[in-house]
Amino acid sequence: MASLHCVLKKSGESLELFGFEDVLKNIEEAINQPDFTPRSNIAIIAEPFSGRSELVYKISEMCRDKETKIFFSRLVSDDNFIDTLEKSGDIVLVDNCQYLFSRNIGGFEKLDIFLNTVASSNKLFITTWNQFSWNYLRFVYPLENIFPVRIELPRLGPEELKKMVMANCEWQMTFAEDVIVKNDQCFEFSEFPVVLPIIKRTFMIPIPRIDYFALKCRFQAKIWPSEQKDATSVEDRVFLRLKDVSEGNPGVAQAIWKKSIPSTKGAIKPEDIIKPQYKIDTNYSQAYMLYIILCRECVTIKELKGIIDPNANIDRWVYDLERSGLISVDNELLSIVPEALHSIVSYLKSMRLVW
């Protein structure tokens, strides 16, 4: 899984986090309640790459040694975490709870144990969940009763993304205007001769031709109306575009930034920020496999074979998805490529696998 160092910046011993000030304030209030009454376990829900784990680090700093941290990074296969839960401090931080279950028969045992412990404990549990796993599990378990406080991580705005990128940039950035040629005609008609075979007459048929550059300019003008364009600097428009293409997800924004703007780049223009385009075409089972990777965030082929039909040609499907640039395979661990996240979600919504 790609780490999100982009959201964090080491400043002495402390970690700097951008864009989650309100979330941290709410959590601080919950932590500072005497005896945590009313006890309101917290579920932090967010899509992949949105900085959940980094938020847990930050919360851990606020807890001042009252907490026990449990970080899951793979499917939980043993019961060691139960001992840790029993011997934990007053506050228990559990990151990536989606690793507590597997979507197959018998795959909910660990989650059952965990939820029973949470429900019967007097401690305050602050947990993080993959948004797509949560959306599925909330109809399987009464999660909303067990975690009465649910916090969805906000999407970052252009200002926050700017701070994040600037904080991690080690080279001097300069910005330049896009070259926009004023041309109102997006369509031009040219005549195409058609000869009718029987009467042997030639007719000129007007055929519309699209001026893609003019269309692009008009589209850009629509995104950034003239007032806004006058009001904001080129720098702001670069980050506004980054926010648009990444939908405010810090991990996706960082990946797109790295891909679009190499360190050797000269002046940066808004049009340099490239929106990743993916053509996804899979069968239903392959799309389901993609959905499992999206929900789990990090999964092995062996685990996939336990979830999907073992007779399915999963190795070939994985190869196809990797070749399409949708997933990355690192040491047999499969994960979603950050910049492909929103294309995948959109596709899975059309396949009715994500809702």
Partner: protein, 249 residues
């Protein structure tokens, strides 16, 4: 004598140029309906539709409506603008049409009216899983005369629209993208029913086709019978969307 004039007038109207023009209009209507079908079918598979809150079935439902519109507009144009039929000729034409119906076109007429009623009443829509005229399958097309179903065995069946007047139509999902399925499991009375219920519940919840939401609940039921117990699971699996590479053309 007057009726002879009307008949001779009608035959004067029907001459080679008007026949050719009428054929051209029908051809145009046919081409327009084919192009519309192609465009809307392609459009219905676009992911972008989700952004507008549309799904493929909503878009495909427009196809039969537009087809009927094109054909009836074409017919109206032929009668009003090409043949320029006067009111007395129209009465005569209706009489001839009625006689035609009596002699053998009533089946065709019933099918066309059945198609129209299908558009208005919507007992089924494109994409629904229905049983019609003794055939079960997914509705692929609602035409002027026939409804085309694709059976689970991938056979294309054309059922005349008129059959909705004689036989009931059973619609499994009625326009929804999911349909209820029921699975029964029978166990020995001495077996661990709780365990069996848990397994069946997990089998249902972990299916790749299951859809869970407030609108799509699931239920596990148990019932005692004299010599066995029946565990029944009810859930709402989604009807998988076939990708373009796997979709039959």
């Amino acid at each position: 004598m007057a009726s002879v004039d009307v008949i001779s007038g009608l035959f004067q109207i029907i001459n080679p140029p008007t026949i050719l023009s009428s054929l051209a209009v029908l051809l145009l209507a046919y081409a327009a309906s084919r192009i519309t079908t192609y465009v809307l079918t392609s459009l219905s598979e676009w992911n972008v539709l989700n952004v507008f809150g549309l799904n493929r079935i909503t878009v495909k439902m427009l196809i039969p409506l537009l087809k009927f519109t094109f054909y009836f507009a074409g017919l109206y144009y032929i009668l009003a603008a090409i043949l320029k039929i006067a009111s007395d000729q129209l009465v005569l034409f209706s009489g001839l049409f009625g006689a035609g119906l009596g002699f053998g076109l009533q089946g065709l007429f019933a099918d066309v009216v059945g198609g129209l009623l299908t558009i208005v009443e919507r007992p089924y829509q494109i994409g629904d899983k229905i049983t019609m005229g003794g055939h079960y399958g997914e509705v692929k097309d609602i035409g002027l005369r026939v409804t085309r179903l694709v059976t689970p065995g991938d056979t294309l069946v054309s059922v005349p629209n008129g059959s909705i007047f004689q036989n009931p139509v059973a619609n499994v999902n009625a326009g929804n993208l999911e349909m209820m399925v029921m699975i029964d499991l029978f166990i020995d009375p001495s077996s661990d029913a709780q365990k069996a219920m848990q397994i069946l519940r997990e089998a249902l919840l972990t299916s790749q086709y299951i859809r869970l939401s407030e609108k799509h609940p699931y239920v596990i039921l148990i019932k005692d019978f004299p010599f066995y117990k029946r565990i029944r699971a009810r859930g709402m699996p989604t009807i998988p969307v076939m990708s373009s590479s796997s979709r039959p053309m």
